[in-house]
């Protein structure tokens, strides 16, 4: 090995060690575990082929979890795309941009547990303020988190509240990168605000939108914290997610590591498929 190469790998060594031990090895080991009947406390594990995977085909609760997670991801994509964008556009046109940006960003600095606890309290069916105000407005109060029809949407609401600030900052940066003269030219040509938006803003924001969607998809499929705090997967299994099912299989009920690893890899495959799909849909074929 030549000296420059040795130097380069010398610099890389600590990070690569960390990466290899705690990212690469677990990735491959997880795949291997998924083909075994590994269980906590069981000294030796045996190779059982695809048995874990085929069992998933019959696991109703896994299907429900997968469906719930996919529903959450898809249903939340539009609000996650649109709300921060709308805010960014509004902030750009109004005053006090920095202050407002900070306010909307602040929830993002909270942990998922704090977010969950805050909303849990807010939405308490009997003594929470949200329902109280609704009742005083004449709207019948609901148990937002215990009603199977509204539970998942409520979780989406708390997520939107939590992450909007983050995507807002990204959109603001993206908007600032769009040259002003494009808008001025369009205005001179008689284009209205809406037209400029569709013809200029959106297309030029495409890479940002793509980033938002892909980031969001990867995160959404791993939904766990909000559900753990807000509903515990309930009512019934209405908000049960894949990661929660994985967590319970591996660390709460049965401590079955092999089965849980199979679940994890199925999740990985689904996320990859979704991401590729999003990429294809949003990448477009023309560049400016």
């Amino acid at each position: 090995m030549s000296r420059p190469t040795r130097i380069a790998y010398g610099f890389l060594a600590p990070g690569l060690l960390l990466f290899a031990v705690y990212r690469l090895y677990p990735l491959l080991e997880g795949l291997r575990l998924s083909f075994t009947n590994a269980r906590l406390g069981r000294a030796s594990e045996q190779w059982i082929g695809v048995a874990n995977y085929t069992r998933l085909l019959a696991d109703d609760r896994f299907h429900v979890s997968l469906w719930n997670t996919a529903f959450y991801t898809v249903a939340s994509t539009l609000p996650i795309l649109a709300v921060p964008l709308a805010l960014a556009l509004a902030l750009n046109r109004g005053r006090l941009r920095t202050l407002l940006r900070s306010v909307f960003f602040f929830p993002f600095t909270l942990s998922v547990v704090t977010v969950g606890l805050a909303w849990l309290w807010l939405l308490d069916p009997v003594v929470g303020p949200f329902n109280y105000y609704l009742r005083s407005l004449g709207v019948p109060a609901r148990s937002w988190l215990a009603d199977p029809q509204t539970a998942m949407w409520t979780i989406i609401l708390t997520t939107v509240w939590w992450v909007t600030g983050y995507y807002l900052v990204i959109y603001l940066a993206g908007l600032q990168d769009i040259p002003r003269d494009l808008y001025e030219a369009a205005a001179l040509d008689g284009a209205s605000g809406w037209r400029s938006f569709w013809a200029i803003t959106l297309p030029l924001l495409r890479p940002v939108l793509l980033f938002v969607v892909v980031t969001h998809v990867i995160g959404s499929f791993q939904l766990f914290g909000q559900v753990f705090v807000l509903t515990g997967g309930g009512p019934g299994d209405a908000t049960r997610t894949v990661v929660q099912h994985l967590y319970e299989t591996a660390f709460q009920n049965f401590f079955q590591f092999g089965a849980a690893s199979a679940m994890a890899w199925v999740l990985f495959a689904v996320i990859l498929a979704f991401s590729v799909l999003q990429f294809r849909l949003l990448r477009g074929h023309t560049e400016y």
Binding site: V103, W161, G225
Partner: protein, 285 residues
């Protein structure tokens, strides 16, 4: 056109007012947390909801930090989170910077492969690594220890850190480096004396990102820590309000408010850095 300008002004003012109203509404969940944490217990469940607590009480904070109640060990959890987050930040900064430098500035066989591997790993969801990471940590004897939290948390942010820093290093002008190399400086000196000091903005942004990631992580500490006195804040808080738990809301909200404090401080102090960091992470993505 004066009239035109005035009407534009009016609409932007109106918009700002509307946004301010929305902002107040936006902060109301957090306000409610803080308000509840300062209310005496009987007032907490009283309706109509009181947004200004009177009388105020520090009881919940006292119980959570200093009280003898063994459920709400938030004080200890706070310290745990601090240790883990700080350790993780230091580890991430060290490893990411050292790895990003050769990837940005040197030519060597395998460079593209390594970089592609790291970037590709950004797509790996953490949930996929959960179980094997747990088994590994158990075998290392690192369950319920600080290192068992610091090292995996750092590993989660490492690839992103390399990505971010490499982008930055690549855009740095070469003149200073070249001058130093001509003067006979070794690569380590170039790295530590020139590159690092000039990278403070992006290092700060990365540090904040890594701090937030480690401070707020929930799922990994939930399974990797079996000794309640080693729980970091999110886990301690979540278990305060778990199934069949009957802990009352006052201490829970006090704990939640406390958990938000460090990042609030960081946020107020380093607002611009955070925004820079978010920008950098988003636009080059």
């Amino acid at each position: 056109m004066p009239r035109g300008l005035r009407s534009v002004d009016r609409s932007s003012v109106a918009l700002t007012v509307a946004l301010l109203a929305l902002a107040v509404l936006w902060l109301s969940p957090i306000a409610w947390v803080v308000v509840t944490s300062l209310k005496p217990a009987p007032d907490i469940i009283r309706l109509p909801p009181e947004w200004i607590p009177w009388p105020l009480t520090g009881d919940h904070y006292h119980e959570v930090l200093l009280g003898s109640s063994r459920t709400a060990r938030i004080g200890r959890a706070f310290v745990n989170s601090l240790v883990v987050a700080t350790g993780s930040v230091l580890l991430v900064l060290a490893t990411s910077a050292m790895a990003a430098y050769p990837l940005a500035r040197m030519r060597f066989p395998g460079r593209n492969l390594v970089f592609a591997l790291l970037v590709g790993s950004l797509m790996i969801p953490n949930a996929v690594l959960l179980v094997p990471q747990y088994v590994l940590t158990q075998r290392l004897g690192w369950l319920s220890t600080y290192q068992g939290l610091i090292v995996p948390e750092a590993a989660m942010v490492f690839a992103f850190g390399v990505f971010l820093l490499r982008q930055f290093f690549v855009t740095m002008p070469r003149e200073l480096e070249d001058a130093a190399l001509i003067d006979g400086a070794g690569p380590w000196q170039v790295f530590s004396r020139i590159i690092l000091p000039l990278s403070q903005p992006v290092l700060a942004a990365l540090a904040i990102f890594a701090f937030r990631s480690a401070w707020n992580d929930f799922l990994w500490p939930l399974i990797a820590v079996n000794k309640p006195e080693m729980f970091p804040l999110p886990v301690a808080l979540a278990l305060l309000r778990s199934a069949y738990s009957a802990e009352s809301y006052g201490p829970i909200m006090a704990g939640a408010a406390l958990s938000a404090l460090p990042l609030l401080v960081v946020f107020v102090v380093a607002n611009r850095r955070i925004v820079e960091g978010v920008r950098l992470s988003g636009l080059k993505g």
